[in-house]
């Protein structure tokens, strides 16, 4: 398929891998973080790490929208889903994220009307066709997904679909990156930037990384050749003593982002003063809530939410995995108590989670053998 197959060419992949080998100083160890969970998934699906020299280590970042949702927010969703007359909607992976006692899928099995949607627009359609029911959309995701929620709410307001509301858990990627860069226990040499987030926000929000922290960032597409090319671009920046934001994903990402999407987001959302990230704790101005103009569609105001903060399970080390401090297989419960079929931590739920990516693509066995 156009825009896909040409970026999966194995022969070209081997050529770029050779260029990476030539660009890497064998006496140096490079730690490169892929910010986005989509990249993590591609890296293990296509075995990209197997093509890299030992000097280049990929570190997984916090960019999995499912993985960063704290248990208390899941409990809030379940509490709303159980209310009489509610049709509760969310994306597929969110159904399996553990709350303190249940997942949304468990709540569904117990009788709650929980439905998977692919788009928030599908949830709005449900609201239109079920005018006597309250349809609630549990919104998650980074800036890639936030525009679709914003557009949906704008349509709901324009059409007066008042039985539709949203629990907004949208998060923004820059604050956690800044928190990671401030972290004393993490040394990184460069970043593979989140291509689809940049489609919306552009390159500018990431310019603080080379300016304030002297680290290169290359905005990357998600096909294997995209990722290999981005790693090569990072190594070349380091080799040439440059440090800047570069855009590998030029076929999709304009430097200024999607201005229409940013405009709709600015109308519908405002920044929360702080938001809890699973494993990372509270981060200031790192999440979105509905603006005053959209308060009639804010499920957090329409329904009573427990709002109880729940500590992560002690055995789970998702926090360290999300920060790139440990590899998934170094977690005590990885592949034993915590598997994709019975996830304790969120990183094992979504395929974009680093633990699930390791597990699903056979890294589990390989790493254990290495130990």
């Amino acid at each position: 398929m156009k825009f896909v197959d040409e970026f999966r060419d194995a022969q070209l992949g081997r050529v770029v891998a050779g260029q990476i080998l030539a660009a890497a100083d064998p006496g140096r160890h490079y730690k490169v973080m892929e910010v986005c969970g989509g990249h993590t998934h591609s890296i293990y699906k296509y075995g990209i790490d197997d093509l890299l020299p030992e000097a280049v280590e990929l570190v997984h970042g916090p960019g999995c929208p499912v993985c960063v949702i704290p248990m208390g927010r899941v409990d809030d969703g379940i509490a709303v889903a159980r209310q009489e007359g509610v049709i509760f909607t969310c994306f597929g992976d969110m159904l399996r994220v553990p709350g303190s006692e249940l997942t949304l899928l468990d709540a569904k099995a117990q009788g709650a009307d929980v439905r998977m949607v692919y788009s928030p627009l599908d949830a709005l359609r449900l609201a239109r066709s079920n005018p006597r029911r309250e349809v609630v959309f549990f919104a998650i995701g980074f800036e890639t997904t936030a525009p679709s929620t914003a557009l949906t709410l704008k349509r709901a307001k324009a059409e007066g679909v008042l039985n539709f509301s949203c629990i907004c858990n949208h998060v923004t990627i820059v604050p956690p990156l800044r928190a990671l860069l401030e972290s004393p226990d993490l040394r990184l040499d460069g970043f593979i930037g989140p291509g689809h987030v940049c489609t919306v926000v552009g390159a500018r929000p990431f310019e603080f990384i080379p300016v304030d922290y002297a680290r290169p960032l290359v905005i990357s597409g998600f096909e294997p050749l995209d990722i290999l090319h981005s790693i090569l671009m990072i190594l070349r920046q380091l080799q040439e003593g440059r440090c800047e934001v570069e855009n590998q994903y030029t076929r999709v990402v304009p430097r200024e982002g999607n201005l229409r999407a940013l405009e709709v987001m600015a109308e519908v959302f405002e920044l929360r003063p702080h938001f809890e990230w699973r494993g990372l704790g509270f981060i200031s101005q790192s999440a979105l809530k509905l603006s005053a103009a959209y308060r009639d569609f804010d499920a957090e105001l329409r329904f009573a939410l427990p709002g109880v903060r729940v500590a992560d399970p002690k055995a789970c080390q998702c926090g360290e995995v999300l920060k790139g401090v440990i590899k998934p297989w170094e977690c005590k419960v990885f592949g034993t108590a915590c598997t994709p079929d019975h996830a304790i931590g969120t990183c094992m739920v979504s395929p974009e989670g680093a633990c699930a990516a390791y597990y699903n693509y056979g890294r589990f066995a390989r790493e254990k053998e290495a130990v």
Partner: protein, 80 residues
């Protein structure tokens, strides 16, 4: 109208920030009919794209086009 779902993809493509390139075959007021990789038809909201014409390629996420895919860039910007 078929939509990409978690049942046919390893995980939820929306949760995974997956953007799907699709080709426009019909343009309406706020939505376009597009074809995906398997030739399935999708209704895609095009409110966030400046101008959309038949034959254009869009990057689609959660039923909404978030970017136009720039065809001329394909040959010259890759690692070849």
């Amino acid at each position: 109208m078929n939509v990409p779902s978690c049942e046919t993809h390893p995980g939820c493509i929306t949760c995974g920030d997956v953007g799907v390139p699709m080709r426009v075959i019909e343009v309406g007021d706020a939505a376009a009919v597009c074809l995906d990789r398997e030739g399935k038809r999708h209704e895609v909201a095009i409110d966030l794209i400046d101008s959309v014409g038949t034959g254009a390629w869009l990057l689609v996420h959660a039923g909404v086009a978030i970017a136009a895919v720039d065809a001329p860039a394909i040959g010259g910007r890759g690692p070849r």
